[in-house]
Symmetry: C2
Subunit: 335 residues, 2 copies
């Protein structure tokens, strides 16, 4: 509302040059302790706050990081966002949040608008962009962390952080097999999802390990939502009524599968065992409690943020590295 004081106003009021005020505000040397205190106090009473915009123009730093996710309403990404924002707050950074809604154009628009904002770094989650598009769009950022997405060849200023979904899928199948389930179905999520492809990979590896031949009739793709999971599970259950286990793309999809089993009159886990993935909070709220592949979502968000921040500060920190997170099967009631 009322006009904010500028550094010039403070300087004039204190009878010093703007540089002196600037040095005080940035805790830089070159100002006597006495005057420093005096200016600090004056700035405070005047309500002076340096403009990040003007500062950004000259320093080329904005103290802002972009976080691009498919859908913040998905608890998976909401938890990651929480961890990332907490870490950003610790370091006096702010977070731009953008949803892509699983839409390529919107993902590209997101990257473009963040570029114009001259943010210091980006965390890009589950990008669906084709490799070449991805590379051209991220190369102009000072620091990038790709979550659940790999790169053909390492790029400078780009680190990757991936959940070992293949291992997860394999472990899920192993658990089913160990409990004498052999007619195992999989709901693999969106066809374009990298995580989905990896989980499917692990699923097939697990089957092969157990000497079970892959049956395409037990595979279904779907949207990463409860409704998607329900529809997919219903489709599988009608096509292959004797299925005795379902590995779901994620917990949301698993909830849908649970509902489909209920609809079909199948008891979980007696008739059909269900394993989800990601261990979002809902997993323990349901009855039966969901057996799922656990990963520490807020910690992942925090790690991603730490990685970007590290790359900004210090070129070598995490630059080009590929990090991996190992999911752990937590056995509850659904399998």
């Amino acid at each position: 509302m009322k006009k904010r004081p500028t550094i010039a106003d403070v300087a004039r009021a204190a009878g010093v040059s703007m540089m002196t005020v600037s040095r005080v505000m940035n805790d830089k040397p070159g100002v006597g302790e006495e005057m420093r205190q005096q200016i600090r106090e004056l700035a405070n009473t005047m309500g002076y706050r340096p403009s990040q915009i003007a500062r950004g123009l000259v320093t080329r730093q904005t103290s802002s990081i972009g976080l691009i996710v498919p859908d913040i309403a998905n608890p998976f990404f909401a938890q990651i966002a929480r961890g990332a924002e907490d870490a950003a707050f610790e370091h006096d950074y702010n977070l731009f949040l953008i949803n892509t809604a699983e839409n390529l154009d919107r993902e590209m628009a997101a990257l473009a608008s963040l570029l114009q904002k001259e943010i210091d770094g980006v965390i890009l989650c589950s990008s669906r962009l084709p490799p070449d598009e991805l590379e051209t769009h991220i190369q102009d950022f000072p620091a990038v962390v790709l979550f659940n997405r790999e790169l053909g060849a390492p790029m400078p200023h780009v680190a990757t952080l991936n959940v070992n979904d293949r291992l997860g899928g394999q472990r899920a199948v192993q658990h089913f097999v160990a409990h004498d389930r052999r007619r195992i179905a999989i709901i693999a999520g969106p066809v374009t999802s990298i995580s989905g492809q990896r989980r499917l990979d692990g699923y097939r590896a697990g089957l092969q390990e157990a000497g079970i031949i892959f049956d395409p009739g037990r595979l279904e793709h779907c949207e990463p939502t409860t409704e998607g999971g329900r529809a997919a599970a219903t489709a599988i259950l009608t096509r292959r009524p004797r299925v005795d286990a379902i590995f779901a793309f994620n917990d949301l999809v698993a909830v849908g599968a649970l509902q489909a089993c209920e609809d079909a009159g199948k008891k979980v886990p007696d008739d059909v065992a269900v394993i989800g993935a990601d261990d979002i909070p809902i997993a323990t709220m349901l009855r039966p409690r969901l057996t799922t592949l656990h990963i520490d979502l807020p910690a992942i968000g925090a790690q991603a943020m730490t990685l970007v921040l590290g790359m900004i500060q210090d070129q070598t920190n995490g630059d080009g590295a590929a990090y991996e997170i190992e999911p752990e099967l937590v056995i509850r009631e659904s399998a």
Copy 2:
């Protein structure tokens, strides 16, 4: 990585002044159609993107809106954030997301850092700041929407958007009473929560209406989480074992209450009926499905964003107004 071209580079390459390029980039008149096309193309091939920072310094507009929420990992706020971001995207605005973690200092720090970023507007959700602090902290923003928080006196550039939680609480109690429940407990959420206070108000009004006297033993406060709800419900159930209905602060708390009933060997809804609030997606995933007070969360987020954007464009649009949303009881299985 590589240095971005500036408007000066484009101007030089095109053999025109910077202003001409500027006019083209902003679709402003004063440039011939032929040259306009030519510059557009050149800018494109050079990969020129105007710096929002430099632009912001002179126009005093950043195309950024701040969204402050207690916790983005809470589906309630995640849904609102989704709606708000979608609406922002539509208008080429970006969203700063900040969590307060129910922490006053952090809320104030959030406001302060957004002020330095010179954002065009803020949506502040469920502020816990005392009235005077709140007023001083929001008055410097060009446009503010307060969600679930009221103002003593209307302020210019500040609109409020409130869920009529009092009515919601009253309706919940009415529903209980209509089904012959009279020993109705309430879990009222954090003591500092405005929504919690309003729901408690409505609860008492509902009781009075039915001629039931208020029993403090049936009231408990708690953190707005599943664990909080579980603990609070357990406390009430041990203190007042004959309670036959629970109105929960929100759906998350209701889930906790459900769990506490399960722990205590009470059947829902037969022994104890439970009503939640907000109708987050989890409500329909649970068994029994949660009866709750429905509001359209993404729509609220979008409305809040539209309100801020309107105030920025046009001073009078929504300025100082107070909007209200009426929750609707959706009856499912838990009550």
